[in-house]
């Protein structure tokens, strides 16, 4: 109520400015709090639209290489929450920094660097070098080409239609990938699942690691790869006959397996301390992604229970894995007790 009264007393104004830019100019936005929405058009100029009170000013400055956009409070301290709508040329490299900022980029075509402390990042497009970092917030990237680096901490990420080198890591969240075309992949999470989707390229390097979660990956019938599968407290499952049956069950006991397919030129390392490793053929169902969909449906209502997600995923994967490699008895190692995520 008090905030409404204060807001009604402030005069609101709109900044709507269009600045011509030369090819190669980079956009650099710093927004302490609020949304940054960027879309593209076919003009070599940048349009900045933001509604703010008369206590804030929008500073738009351009030098030879960079167009800088900053909000500033005319009374000192950080500005109030500002929601930017920015339209840029498709070729423009984009750099956005924020503290409590949600960032959405739609259809961009150049380098992208986004870092926010608490806020979601959603990007469609990007080429060259794409770097996305958020401490608390979901990260989503689609249709990107080049070298991709994604870092989250307390949330998962979804990456789709990526073409190029890919490195992604988070501490408390799952990494879900769709239609990845890459020969160099490095994925790591401490507490979450990793679900990969994409071909294994000859001479490629694929390293997928989780501490507490499952790893699922498709393996085509004709592929040249050396698979190194290792788990300590989980199991290895495959929806197809992974190797000829053998009387030697030493691998079952050690919970490790090295399998050479074709020439073995690609290296695939899948490692989970406490979860299952699940292999499937391309196009087969991906039950491990279902919990994510369900948890997204109940997002904002209830925080997802990570243990439940992992249990659901493992149970689902077993449903689709008719050729069990082994079903181990768990070692006497404590299973992490999840603490509800703070918001």
């Amino acid at each position: 109520m008090l905030a409404e009264i204060v807001l009604s007393m402030m005069a609101m104004t709109t900044t709507d400015q269009t600045v011509p830019v030369a090819k190669g100019t980079k956009l650099d936005v710093n927004n302490f709090a609020g949304d940054v929405n960027v879309k593209v058009w076919d003009r070599d100029s940048v349009r900045v639209q933001v509604t703010h009170s008369d206590r804030e000013a929008i500073d738009i400055r351009q030098d030879e290489q960079t167009l800088r956009i900053r909000g500033k409070s005319l009374r000192g301290g950080p500005p109030r929450s500002l929601d930017y709508a920015i339209t840029v040329p498709g070729w423009m490299p984009i750099n956005v920094n924020g503290t409590y900022a949600d960032v959405t980029l739609e259809g961009v075509g150049g380098d992208v660097a986004i870092e926010t402390m608490r806020g979601d990042i959603k990007v469609r497009g990007g080429s060259g070098f794409i770097s996305l970092k958020s401490v608390q917030g979901e990260v989503s990237l689609e249709k990107a080409k080049g070298r991709v680096e994604v870092r989250a901490v307390n949330e998962g990420m979804h990456l789709a239609d990526i073409n190029g080198d890919l490195s992604a890591e988070t501490t408390n969240g799952s990494i879900i990938l769709d239609r990845i075309d890459s020969g160099n992949v490095d994925l790591y999470t401490v507490n979450g699942n990793i679900s990969y989707d994409g071909p294994i390229k000859d001479k490629g390097m694929y390293r997928l690691t989780t501490h507490n979660g499952m790893i699922a990956m498709p393996v085509a019938e004709r592929v040249n790869a050396t698979l190194t599968l290792r788990t300590y407290n989980g199991s290895i499952r495959s929806s197809f006959q992974l190797a000829p049956p053998s009387g030697d069950d030493s691998q079952r006991r050690s919970k490790r397996m090295t399998v050479t397919l074709g020439s073995g030129s690609a290296h695939v390392e899948l490692e989970s301390f406490g979860g299952a490793i699940s292999l499937r053929r391309p196009g087969e169902p991906r039950p491990e992604t279902e919990p994510r969909r369900r948890s997204r449906e109940r997002v904002k209502i209830d925080m997802p229970n990570i243990d439940q997600i992992v249990e659901d995923a493992v149970a689902g994967a077993f449903e689709y894995a008719p050729f069990p490699v082994w079903v181990p008895m768990p070692n006497p190692v404590p299973v992490p007790v999840p603490v509800p995520k703070p918001r």
Binding site: F129, V153, T171, N172, V190, N191, S250, T260
Partner: protein
């Protein structure tokens, strides 16, 4: 306004410590430090980490890692990019180099032995299966031959790693007031998750000391903790 001012100065502190500023810039930083207790505290933290890093022993890796490193560089050479590090990052990297070298040595020893065991079976073209237990025995023999049984298990009570963690925790503690409660809770929650993973890996390794997967996993988890601490400590300076 304050945020922008501190950002401007904290960005220069690393260069100040490295003596990379012009005399005029150096004078400006010193003048600012005299009047800003917060930046002075950040400089103290940085100096301590750098000082500790400088005092680290030089320990050569127990196997030649260059082949593996070179191969990874080649694999990534297609998309070159400039990489720069801050002083705390370099300090952390120095600590990790030591903490990680034993684990990496294990990994490389394991892989090369496993590879040689596979090669001897020579089953290209068909799906083949190799028992890593056998490979492990082969690895031990191979390691003894090539390195004179020199490889020891990873040390888990690495005083220098602990000291680096302790320094970063202290820097984070000092900067707590600059972060909001929710962010602090998020960081602590995630540190707790990593600590749990480290503890589980450590316990498992105690039960199975020769397990190279576990030693590598532990090294990786410890690295993640250092990464998160460094990132969280950086947030405290960015949030000024």
């Amino acid at each position: 306004m304050m945020m922008a001012m501190h950002e401007e100065w904290t960005d220069k502190l690393s260069e100040y410590l490295d003596d990379e500023l012009s005399p005029r810039e150096r004078e400006a930083v010193e003048s600012h430090l005299r009047g800003c207790a917060e930046c002075a505290a950040v400089l103290d933290d940085l100096s301590r980490v750098v000082d500790r890093a400088r005092r680290l022993d030089r320990r050569p890796p127990r196997v030649d890692l260059w082949d593996g490193i070179a191969a990874r560089i080649d694999a990534r050479a297609a998309t070159p990019r400039r990489v720069s590090f801050t002083l705390p990052q370099l300090a952390a990297a120095a600590v990790l180099l030591i903490a990680g070298s034993a684990g990496v040595a294990w990994q490389f020893a394991d892989r090369s032995a496993a590879r040689s065991a596979e090669t001897s079976r020579s089953t290209a073209g068909a799906a083949t299966q190799t028992s890593e237990r056998e490979a492990s025995a082969e690895r031990n023999r191979s390691s003894e031959r090539s390195m004179g049984a020199d490889i020891a298990t990873v040390t888990f009570a690495d005083a220098q790693y602990d000291a680096a963690v302790s320094d970063l925790e202290k820097a984070l503690q000092n900067g707590r007031g600059r972060l909001d409660q929710t962010t602090i809770a998020i960081v602590e929650h995630n540190l707790q998750i990593i600590d749990q993973a480290i503890e589980q890996a450590r316990q498992a390794l105690e039960a199975d000391p020769a397990n190279d997967f576990l030693s590598g996993h532990l090294v990786e988890a410890r690295r993640r903790k250092l990464d998160l601490l460094r990132r969280a400590a950086a947030l405290t300076t960015e949030s000024d």
